[in-house]
Symmetry: C2
Subunit: 283 residues, 2 copies
């Protein structure tokens, strides 16, 4: 079977073109949309990601400020910064980077981010708004999975989707989004006794566990659609997904590539959230 490549580049470009126009309109009306990136680590992968977000923001006319609290910052320091930026009218959007210092819990400190500025949807209130079907920002990676599937014409209603991974920022919110699209959803994870038993019957498999080569051809039913959310560091320094592409290609109907699949759509959606937050705060 020919396996289609579900690239995210065209979709990301379309989202970015729209965001750029809306950011320009906001800037023309007075103030550019403004994103605060809060960093409390000295992790190289985080630094690389923050840098890529700054470049993406710059290209779209979004002002982006990096606030470095240091790798030893306490939970109190981080919460105080998040609260201050939440109250600051000059800040439209806030993203707290991971990893956090040892002993600091993301779910705990993220509750200090005002829901209206929580563009990555990480706070408990944002997750609850999603679970309730109310208006709020959805974690961008999970939204990117759904948008990528829709963009490539993959139907979700009534179909069986297995999500491998149950993180608070991808697997769990993605399950909520898929249920809202009327998919039947299975969430599997590291403690799942027989992974293949729940992935092979699925019409769509989403690999979001953060483990290289976790999903292989033997986990996939013939003609399934496979979305790879993994962004693992490869031995050569590049980025590699959770899916073993060599054994999945030829068996799956479609596979999203890493890099170039979910990733660019995630960044584009994050930037769109910043623009939306700015539009709402100006309204």
């Amino acid at each position: 079977m020919d396996t289609a490549s579900l690239t995210g580049k065209e979709l990301a470009a379309a989202i970015n073109a729209d965001s750029k126009e809306r950011a320009a309109a906001l800037t023309a009306a007075g103030t550019a949309p403004t994103l605060a990136l809060i960093v409390a680590n000295d992790d190289p992968a985080s630094a690389w990601y923050v840098n890529s977000l700054r470049k993406a923001a710059e290209r779209l006319g979004i002002a982006c400020e990096r606030i470095d609290l240091g790798a030893d910052a306490s939970a109190e320091t981080i919460r105080a910064e998040l609260s201050a930026r939440s109250a600051d009218p000059a800040t439209d959007a806030i993203m707290l980077q991971t990893p956090l210092p040892a002993g600091v819990n993301l779910d705990d400190v993220s509750s200090a981010i005002a829901a209206a500025k929580d563009v990555d949807g990480v706070s408990p209130l944002s997750l609850g708004l999603l679970a309730s079907g109310l208006d709020g920002f959805v974690p961008a990676t999970s939204e990117a999975v759904v948008e990528l599937l829709k963009h490539h014409g993959v139907a979700l209603q009534g179909r069986l989707v297995t999500v491998v991974g149950r993180s608070n920022i991808v697997g769990k919110p993605l399950a909520q989004l898929l249920l809202a699209e009327n998919a039947t959803v299975t969430v599997a994870h590291s403690r799942t006794a027989d992974l293949a038993a729940v992935t092979t019957p699925a019409d769509i498999v989403v690999a979001a566990a953060g483990r290289i080569g976790l999903v292989t051809g033997k986990h996939i039913g013939d003609g399934a659609v496979v979305i790879d959310v993994g962004t693992n560091e490869a031995a050569d320094g590049g980025i590699v997904g959770d899916v073993e592409a060599t054994s999945v290609i030829g068996k799956a109907a479609a596979l999203s590539p890493v890099p170039g699949g979910v990733g660019p759509v995630t960044t584009a959606l994050l930037m769109r959230h910043v623009v939306v937050a700015a539009e709402k705060s100006r309204a």
Copy 2:
């Protein structure tokens, strides 16, 4: 196969004995735990349920006040009452009854209930605390399912559980609780194309869709455990579940009865939440 009956009466009695003792200690120290039941309907089933809650509270030494806003109450009126009770130090716990007046959305108005008093865990923040794994009140029915399984020694880790129903008050929070217990979880619902395909492989099936006879013997694998969350009105005026017991008995290893299964545990957990809320507010 003999099918065990997973009754909830002993578990409910044990929880209630503990709650009664704790309520008595609070009363001895000054004030009885106090639950406000907010009603904005003239539905007979709701009236019956409110009455049963009042009796349950009374038996345990919990003060219970019924506040009737009328079946025509506006969202503003309901929100104002919920906000007032949230701010009132004499109210430890708040439950908003359904159905609500036409046009009033539960998820929307429930955000006016302070999380510390939201003993049925219905507000967006409570649902988000659950999704984040943080401390908050869990919707009592979903908690009752997990507690009933544990009470009867049914292991959850690594096992495949299919939940039929995706409501915000049962199906979706139950999926979160089961994931936290390391179960592999499938959520099916009215749009699921082939229900039997996702229920027959399951070690445990939870029927929580609110439809009489939805889950029958042909939906159940040999030796599965079946939990019936349904509380549908039967033709004879009694209560009947979502599971067709006649065809499931003899095939399943165990089935929770309706009435007498999840129901009494749910009420007991709600009352325990009231006691916990009161203890925390006094601390």
